[in-house]
């Protein structure tokens, strides 16, 4: 089995840097634009995310998931950190543009990654309002409080929807769900 691009980066293969940007640049750019307040913020964040990727490549464990998920995790961490440090303004995607968000079709998401397929399947099993909460929180970067305000539902309901959605995906990703039932 050939090494992944992250494993190549970790081993000092300089050509892998270009491959990584080519292969995962669109993913990082997509997430950064959604979870940033301005286009300039998105550009700064993308630079920081790639620096994080170079620094973290050696920690990538292929047995724990794909390159794509690892990189999306790094991107999310950085972007959440940036959102917390900046003002209370929401990210640049207005909620009115929600129609523009297209979830991957569970039947074709496997072309993106196994994990995306699992997530799409889990999302398809959720109620529309639960899916909307996940969409606002994870794809548009709204905080739980902001979601509660926008949808005019109690904060506790937002937390509950978020929890169920994430745990459903977690279960479908073949992660041990022991101990969760009491919390859901």
């Amino acid at each position: 089995m050939s090494p992944s691009v992250l494993q190549r980066i970790a081993s000092g293969d300089t050509a892998a840097v270009r491959d990584c940007m080519q292969e995962y640049g669109p993913l990082v750019w997509s997430i950064a634009r959604r979870l940033s307040r301005t286009p300039a913020d998105a550009e700064d964040a993308t630079q920081e995310i790639f620096l994080d990727i170079w620094r973290s490549a050696a920690r990538f464990d292929a047995s724990q998931g794909s390159d794509k998920v690892f990189i999306a995790m790094i991107a999310r961490r950085r972007l959440i950190d940036r959102l917390r440090k900046t003002s209370a303004e929401p990210p640049m995607d207005p909620v009115e543009s929600l129609e523009a968000v297209a979830w991957a079709d569970p039947g074709t998401a496997s072309e993106t990654s196994v994990e995306a397929e699992q997530a799409a399947k889990a999302l398809a099993e959720l109620r529309p309002e639960q899916r909307q909460v996940l969409e606002l929180g994870l794809l548009h970067g709204l905080s739980q409080s902001e979601i509660a305000t926008r949808l005019e539902i109690p904060l506790g309901t937002v937390k509950s929807f978020m929890r169920r959605g994430l745990i459903k995906v977690r279960e479908l990703m073949n992660i041990d769900a022991e101990g969760v039932s009491a919390s859901t």
Binding site: T14, R84, E135, L166, E178
Partner: protein
Amino acid sequence: MTERPQNQLDEATLDLLIKQVTDGLAPAEQRELDVLDSGVASEWRRELERAAAAINLAGSTDASPLPAALARTIARQAEQHFASVRHATEPTAAAADRKIASLEAERAAASLQRVPPSYGNRNGIYGWLAAAACLLLAAIGWLRGPVETVPPSAQVSPAAVVAPAEKPLTPPTPAEQRDALLAKAGSIKITLGGTKDSGSAGMSGDVVWDPATQRGYMHFTGLAANDPSIHQYQIWIFDSTRDKHFPVDGGVFDVPANAVEVVIPIRATLMVRKPAAFAVTVEKPGGTVVSGREHVVALGAAG
């Protein structure tokens, strides 16, 4: 099947973990999580982060490539990062050389501090001396640092050059942009001095830098013309929050034969948080990621 109580997680902890991976936690919430954590939170956090990332993958169906300029910047930063990693793991003579430079700088700084202040506030003088010592340390360390063989820096678009005879362009010229930046509140101006290098003979110049917008210009008179096919000038910015051995690359530029005065836009490839000094070196065409420092032709320190 053996029960795995270590995987049990109470609802309050789970709520905090979910908030951590979706919103981030306030310091008080983080402290609360630290108190509640029975040792399995980090594992749960990782799994929830994976789930959130997978949802992002399922929702990121658009695939716009990185903008070209951004991709170039990231590629340059990668070069700098990996050069820095190589340097950090490099043992031996280079480290010894830097140690000597560091000791010399400390000696120089000590001699500066022995000079009795003749007037003014003592704390102010000591503050100035400390700043001067830091700069000296950085500059000596940098100038005497190791010469590395590194891949060439990605080509930055040629710097704009203003010669007196040029007709003004419709968009503001670099000189006009420099003037505008100089008038902007918060911008700083630093005088550039020559060095012992023959390339700086007769040169004078300055830097105008705006920390807020990360834009700046170098202005020179008398800087020798270069043949871009043989060598180019390269700008370096010392950021006191970064490793002094790795100043931020500010781009390469050329001085044409007929130019009396040039204004060069600075293209910092990394965020410069606390500019401590600016320098110009002569490098091979395209510049370098880590300068060999054989030819430093201009150097100026922030006040």
